[in-house]
Each structure stands twice: as C-alpha cells, then as structure tokens.
C-alpha cells in the first residue's frame, strides 16, 4: 500500500452495497483508494481505534446502531475524519440533521456512480482540510464552530470577488442576542453559552451553507449572503423569527432566545468595504432595538414574581404588597409554571412566591422545576395546607420559607420576603466562598505539597500521585535525593481539610528541609542525620502550632539506602507501609512504633530498619485509600492492595499504581473519594541485576527454511528450560510472534537473501521470557510496515499486528554500527481481564 492512498473506512452492513462501493473506488481514476470494510458500528469503532482514516463512509442504519446515534458514536470516536453518510432513503430531514451533526456530505445509494462517489470523497476531505486549516489559523470561533471576526472578514473578501463575477447583490445581516448579559449573570455562564450555540444553530438553519456566518464576538453575529433570489429584510427577518420559534420549541431552555437584527444590501460592483458594511448593519440593528420588545430592569424596589393559578389568591397578595409602606414591591404575576419560566428568563426577579399546585406542575416537583431555571433566586412557597409537614417538605426541597394562604398579614409577607432574599444571598456567598477555598487549597496541594520523584536513580523506580478529594485534606509527599545512593521519601497527611490543612502540609514540608540543613551543619562531616533525628527536629519546630490549631500530622519518613540495601523508616502514626518481598513472592506490612507529629513535645522517635532485595517494592499511601468505603460501608483495607501488588509486582510502577487506584475506584463505585488519596510506589529494579534463569542461543541463517526449526527452539525453551514453564496458548503466542518477527528480518532486513545471520537468544526470568533477535541486515522500523486490513481485501500487513497482539512488549534497537535487535517479552502470569492473546490490562 502506498502512503498516498486515500484511506477509506466503509461502515456498511449490506455486503452487496459494500462490494459496489469498493468496485467504484477500485476503478476510480486519480488517487488510489484503500478501503477497509467494517460490517457493524462496533467493528467500525474497533477499526477507528487501531488506525486513522482519511474519510469515513457510513450507512446510518446498521444491525447494531440506527440513525443519528450511529453518526454520534463515530464522531465521538474519530472527531477529525470527514464523514459521508450513505443512505437508501431519500429522506431530506435525516440528511439535514446528519449535516448539522457534523457529516460532510450525504449520498443516496441509488445515485452512487463512478463519478459522484470519488468526487464526494475528494470534496469532503478538502472541506475538512480547509476547516482544519482555518481552525489552526484561528479563524474559527471554538464555541460555535462559526467563523470568528477575523475569519469572517477574510472569507467575505473572497465572496466579494465571486459576487462581482456573477453580478449578484450581496446582503449583510448583523445580529445580537437580547439579554445575553442577563442570562449569563442570572442563570450562569453555561446557560449563556447555550444561548450562543443555540443562536449559531438557528443561523445555520436559516442561511445556506454557502453563506458566510460569523460570531463577531460576545453576543454579536453576522451573516454575508449572495442574493440568489430577490429578497427583502422582512422576508429574512420572518424566516429567522420562525426558525427561532421552531428551534426553541424543539430545545426548551430556561431562557427565551430572541435576536435583534439589522440588514444592509449592497451591489459589490459599486465598491465593497466589509468593515463599513458591518458598522452600517450594526447601526440599523441598534435602531431596530428601540422598537423591539426590550426589557429594562426596573429600579423600583424588590421584583417579586408570583406563580399562582388562583386569581383570588393572587389578588390578595397583590393588595397586601401594594399596602406595604417599606421599600416597595413590583409584582409580576404568572399563572402557570411555563409562564413563570418565561418571566424568570426575561426579567430580573428578586424573589419567587410559588404556589405548588399549578395547572402544569404540582407538589414539591414545582420547587425543583423553578430552581432548575433560576438556581440563585429565593423561593417562598404559598400553601393552602395548614400542616407543618407541607411547609417543612418545601424547605427540604430548597425553598427559603413558606406562607399559609389566608393566615398572613402584610407585615409577615414583607418580612418573610426580605428574610428570604437575605438568607439566599448569604447562602450564595457561603457557597462561593467554599468553592474558592477548594480551588485555592487544591492549588496549594498541586504546587507546594507534591514533590516530583527522581527519575534517574540507577536501579530504583518511583511512581507517585494524589487524587484530591472534594475538600482537599492536606496529603503531601516529597523526595530528597543524596547522590546515587540515598533517597528520602516523605509521605504524610495533615489532619483537617481545606486551606488550613494544605498550608500546614506545605509548612511541614519546608520544615523537613530546614531540619536537614540545620542537622547537617551541626554534624559537620559526620554524614547524614538519621530519619529519627530529622523527625525529632521537625516535631520541635511544628508541635506548638499543631497543638494551637488542634491538628496533627501522620507521616512515614523513609530512607532508601541503595548501597546497604536497607530501608530505614520512622512511621508516625501513618498507614502501614507495604513491603513486597520478591524472593518470597508476598507482601508484609511494616509496623511503626511512633506517634503522629503534634502530640507531644517530648516524643522520642525511633527508626526501624528493614533489608530489601532486587525486585522488592515499597508502597506508601494515605488513609484515603485504605479507608475508602464501598456502598455497603466496607473499608477498602490493606489486603486488597497487597493482593494487587503480589499479582502484578513485575509490571511498570505507574501501571501498578494505576491498578490500585482503579481497583479502589471500582470498590467505591466512583472516582470521587471522600478523602485525598495518595499512592507512592518505589521499586528496586536493577535491570542488569534482574536475576534470570536459563538462557539459550540459536544461530541461524536468513533462509526461510529455518522457520520451523526456530519455532521448535522457542517451544522447547518455553516448556523444558523455563521455570516456571510457559505452556499452552501463551507459549503458542510467543512462537507465533517470534516466527513473524524472524520472517520480517528475513524478508525485509535481508531482502530475501538466504545467507544473512540471525542470532536468537532466549532468556528466562521469574515472571517473563525475553527473546532477542539480532541481525545485521537493513534496519527497519515499525512504521515501515503497513497496517493490516481485516476485511479480506489485503493479503499482507498482518505480521506486526500479530506480534504486538501476541507478546507484552516489543523493543527495536540499533547500536549505530549495523547491529539491530528486536526484543520480544512475554509474561508468564496471566493478568485479570486478559483475553486469550492480549496481555494489556484495560482499566
């Protein structure tokens, strides 16, 4: 396959249609196409994960997915490849929807011809490219996908040339969204964004795809059209208005979308200045606003919205409020929930008086509905029932207060309204303050509390991460390195939450460094201060503050001595460190004897020393991990952690850490933990010192006849030499991978010559077998080999795919002197969730 081929993914369940399309593309002139056929959405999605395509042809109606859902699944999987929809139905509505959902084109199967299909593919790719380029030039507004101001002006200039050539009139519409500021302020940014994207959708529906639509900034939009049939601004405005109404009907929101518009027409032959046209249209728009139904905020008193369907009750409240002698109230009256929503969306309201039983909503649900469209507005419930329960339930649902109809006076009404507004304001302030605190403390944690583990310490690997809880609670870790032989690991947890805990953690961290420098100075050349001396010093620094704040710190301070092969640690009331002992293949918990920092001035800290060996692991963690609870209330505990470590001790450290985290998340049933969760993993892994068992070498030529013998060598090594042996499917998989890799060396590196030399070395480790293939042929990279086709259209290209699926790791290396090596690694233990061939753990 040539890299200039246009790679087409065809998702089509009808074999006849698929063949027809393949034939059309095979015969097409110009670019060659390589078509991959997937018979279902699932198969298509699998393809999209293994390779990238230039274009996707998709039938919307498949055995496993129907309609626009098909389209959405594909665009989620592959947001960048242009999509062409194929369909048997001549259904305009579906076509238009498909295009709105992001498809580039739409083709009827009955009209597929030798000329149309390649052209459609070419255009789709071209359009997508143009769009991508524009985006990269930042001519596109990211929120709406429309042009931004720069894009609009750039593209409009091209349109002018076109209009001049055809002698057609141009018209430019300028619009803005009424009350966008109000929507943003009262309903939140998210609703504001919705108003903007809704507007974009309405404009795309109202104008043709050849028209230029831009978001000029904020709430302003502009459209440049070439007039194809005589038009007036009334026609355009009417069409826009109808489309807004249709769209709003189909997508109900908490606000009412309305646009103001100004339109100017111009003859491009008579000169054309896009900026001048824009300001002219904008001025026209502003003029039209004067006559449009624009709502300005009333300054007089408190704006009360009463949602009440009983006119008698409503009149009573109105009269009471008008009697009020204080600030003064302005009352709006809505007779249904729907009408109430309209008021909330279009007017500035300070408080809602709400009858729960309305023609279109009843009971406590009514409160929820109102809160949905106006979460920041205080609600006072009007109830006919004298029972306390109704009122209390209303408050439980979020109302600020309640009034029993017929039993309140002007004074009570006034007071309850004022209090409701005040309480809601205070509540809002508190909520915002809490959010700010969480944001600040999590920033403190990320910047001050978490050190980065050394990445280049010979023979020792580190992995560390923290997942902050909703209320950061002061987990911290740090690493202090002394040359290549010592590294101190500190992992601690400050009792408490939020900013105070985060700051205490940061302070503690800095005290460790201070203790270090002062002790090193005091000791002169006598070497490193011991962990207990450091902790003792830090406790002296911090104990008074901690006692004053009624807080304490639990931590483990561990020193890894690479030369002596010991871990010396002081465990101050912290979780018990897990020590995985590779020789025994099991874990134990390291018990500490010390109290947390901040308990007493007089504490004497003791260091415990444990030896370690090649392959051992140490796992430090916060109690957020072991005390994570399942929905049934069980603790995650240490046993589960040790179990995961034992079964995966030879995996990369990041991988083990990730497995522990995901297993805990699965246990809790969520990735949101109630406490910070910290995992620090240290592995003693001197690659050169990894003890291995038998090794065997086979030296062969690059003649294809050798393949059977090479397979026999691998099989023999796996079953007879390796301990524990590798048998069954994993052994067959390793044989297959070696066979494919050697075939590649014979065919590609030695170009089919039979006299090249290949050295095959097998090496047995406790957890895996490595097979190294060395040759002096041409170097070839993984990317030199094409991706496979799984549809029966290609006879080759499977080799690399087979290798990667059959072993756990493949490494290519060269020494620059013409020696090349491929190392295949196959693990012996089967991991959980693994398929028959594939050893990657999916989390």
């Amino acid at each position: 396959m040539d890299s200039n081929d246009i790679k087409v993914l065809l998702i089509e369940d009808n074999a006849g249609d698929a063949r027809l399309i393949e034939e059309i593309l095979a015969k097409a002139e110009g670019h060659p196409y390589s078509v991959t056929w997937a018979q279902s959405l699932t198969a298509g999605v699998v393809q999209l994960r293994v390779e990238t395509f230039d274009v996707i042809l998709v039938d919307l109606f498949l055995t496993d997915s129907k309609g626009l859902d098909t389209l959405r699944s594909i665009s989620t999987e592959s947001p960048f490849a242009p999509l062409i929809v194929l369909t048997g139905l001549d259904d305009k509505a579906v076509a238009v929807q498909a295009l709105q959902e992001g498809a580039q084109d739409y083709l009827l199967k009955s009209q597929l011809e030798h000329s149309t299909l390649p052209r459609a593919i070419g255009y789709a790719i071209e359009r997508q490219r143009t769009y991508d380029t524009l985006k990269s030039l930042s001519l596109i507004d990211p929120l709406t996908g429309l042009y931004n101001r720069r894009g609009f002006v750039t593209i409009s200039a091209q349109q002018q040339t076109f209009a001049m050539r055809t002698g057609k009139r141009i018209f430019l519409s300028f619009m803005d969204i009424n009350q966008l500021k109000w929507i943003n302020d009262s309903l939140g940014q998210r609703q504001g964004d919705l108003a903007i994207t809704d507007t974009a959708a309405v404009l795309q529906k109202t104008f043709r795809s050849s028209d230029i639509i831009g978001r000029m900034g904020g709430d302003e939009f502009a459209v440049l059209c070439i007039e194809t049939e005589p038009s007036t601004d009334e026609i355009i405005k009417a069409r826009l208005k109808k489309n807004i109404a249709d769209y709003t009907m189909a997508h109900p929101r908490g606000f009412r979308l309305s646009l103001s518009m100004g339109i100017v027409f111009c003859d491009p032959a008579a000169g054309f200045d896009i900026e001048a046209l824009l300001s002219e249209a904008e001025a026209l728009m502003n003029k039209s606003k004067g006559t449009a139904h624009v709502l300005e905020k009333s300054d007089k008193g408190i704006q009360v919205l009463m949602i009440e369907d009983n006119p008698g009750d409503a009149r009573l409240v109105r009269e009471m409020l008008s009697e009020s002698r204080s600030a003064g109230f302005a009352l709006q009256w809505a007779q249904s929930l729907a009408e109430g929503r309209l008021f909330l969306a279009s007017r500035s309201i300070d408080v809602v008086l709400l009858d729960l039983d309305l023609p279109d909503s009843w009971g406590s649900k009514t409160i929820t509905e109102v809160m949905k469209c106006a979460p920041t507005k205080p609600i006072v419930v009007l109830t006919g029932s004298t029972s306390e329960e109704t009122g209390l339930e209303a408050i439980k649902y979020g109302a600020q207060d309640y009034l029993v109809k017929g039993s309140f006076t002007t004074v009570t009404l006034e007071r309850i309204i004022n209090f409701a507004i005040e309480r809601k304001n205070i509540g809002e302030e508190l909520r915002k303050a809490r959010e700010r605190e969480v944001a600040i403390s999590s920033r403190i944690q990320q910047t001050l509390l978490l050190g980065s583990p050394p990445s280049d310490l010979p023979g020792i690997e580190f992995a560390a991460f923290t997942v902050p809880s909703q209320y950061v609670d002061g987990d911290f870790y740090d690493f202090i390195r002394y040359g290549d032989s010592f590294v101190d690991i500190i992992q601690g947890d400050v009792m408490g939450k939020g900013i105070p805990a985060a700051l205490l953690g940061a302070a503690a961290k800095s005290y460790f460094l201070r203790a270090h420098s002062s002790l090193i100075y005091a000791r002169g050349c006598a070497g490193l201060p011991s962990p207990d001396a450091i902790i003792d010093q830090v406790n002296r620094y911090i104990v008074d503050d901690l006692m004053k704040l009624e807080s304490f710190i639990t931590l483990c301070y561990a020193r890894l001595d690479a030369a002596a092969r010991t871990l010396q640690f002081v465990d101050c009331g912290h979780t018990k460190t897990v020590h995985y002992c590779a020789a025994e293949g099991r874990c134990r918990l390291l018990d500490g004897v010390n109290m947390p920092l901040g308990f007493s001035r007089e504490d004497v800290y003791k260091t415990t020393t444990v030896p370690f060996a090649q392959g051992d692991l140490f796992f430090f963690y916060s109690d957020g991990l072991t005390e994570a609870r399942s929905p049934d209330g069980d603790f995650y505990g240490e046993e589960r952690i040790m179990d995961i470590i034992v079964r995966n001790a030879s995996l990369p450290v990041d991988e083990i850490n990730r497995m522990i985290f995901y297993a805990a998340a699965a246990f809790v049933g969520s990735q949101n933990f109630s406490d910070d969760l910290t995992c620090v993993l240290v592995a003693i892994r001197d690659r050169n010192a990894e003890p291995h068992g038998e090794t065997a070498t086979l030296i062969t030529t690059s003649a294809l006849d050798e393949l059977a013998g090479i397979r026999a060598f691998v099989a023999e090594f796996c079953t007879r030499w390796a301990s524990p042996p590798l048998a069954g499917e994993p052994a067959a998989a390793l044989q297959l991978a070696v066979n494919e890799a050697v075939t590649n060396i014979m065919k590609h590196a030695y170009g089919g010559r039979a006299d090249g030399r290949i050295d095959i070395e097998a090496c047995d480790y406790a957890a895996h077998i490595d097979i190294s293939l060395r040759h002096r042929g041409k170097d070839f990279k993984r990317s030199d080999v094409a991706s496979p086709h799984f549809d029966g259209t290609a006879e080759g290209g499977f080799g690399i795919f087979i290798i990667e699926q059959s072993v756990d790791d493949v490494r290519y290396s060269s020494d620059g002197k013409g020696n090349h090596e491929i190392v295949l690694k196959k693990y012996k233990t089967r991991q959980e969730g693994e398929g028959p061939w594939n050893c990657t753990v999916k989390l």
Binding site: L707, R711, Q735, L736, E740, T743, E795, G799, F801, I802
Partner: protein, 113 residues
C-alpha cells in the same frame, strides 16, 4: 507442501498435506492450489493436518478466496486446529471465511446454497 484434491459432485475438496503453512512453504502451497482454483468454482480447503499457520499462510488463503470470488466461486475452510483457529480470530479472518469442523459439513453447506 502438497495438496490432494478429490471431487465430490461439483465441490472440490482439497486436503493440505504438511504440518505448517508459513513463509517457507507458502510458495509451494500457491503452486499446488492454483490449478485447483482454475478448474473449480466451489472448493473446500481441509486444513486438518496443519498445526501452524502464520501471516504469510493467511495471506495465501485470502488470495485463494479472492481469486475464486472474482470468478463467482467460493472457498470454505475446515479442520482448523486450535492455534490456527486462534490466529484466524486474532486477525479477524473468521468473519471473512466460512469455517466448518469437518469437510462433510463444508460440502453440505455448498449443497445448501
């Protein structure tokens, strides 16, 4: 690598003799298979003797299928040992080929068409 073929009505049953179909035997296989493909429209390939097939082998079998399909014929497979079947599944070729346990079942499937 040899191929023993036997006509059962209009179906040709071709039995592979040899225990592996890899890069070293694939040319022999193609040479043996081509005359059978030229003569017949309906072929059952009995792979019962093979305990190893690699990507070159799969490629050759795909090539047989394509040649037969091109002239309106068809190919069915039978007798795949466990590792061979696993390889077909790994590269998803079990979806492209009709695969049967025995040659009788494969022949019967032709008769039903």
């Amino acid at each position: 690598m040899e191929l023993y073929s036997e006509a059962l009505g209009d179906v040709m049953v071709a039995r592979i003799k040899g225990d592996h179909l890899d890069a070293s035997t694939v040319e022999d296989f193609k040479a043996a298979a081509n005359p059978v493909i030229e003569k017949s429209m309906k072929i059952v390939l009995d792979m019962g003797s093979l305990n190893f097939v690699d990507s070159s082998g799969i490629g050759a079998i795909i090539s047989c299928l394509r040649k037969l399909n091109a002239k309106g014929g068809d190919l069915k497979l039978c007798g795949l040992s466990k590792p061979v079947r696993s390889l077909f599944e790994l590269v998803r070729m079990h979806r492209i080929f009709d695969i049967f346990e025995t040659s009788d079942e494969a022949v019967a499937a032709f008769a039903r068409q």
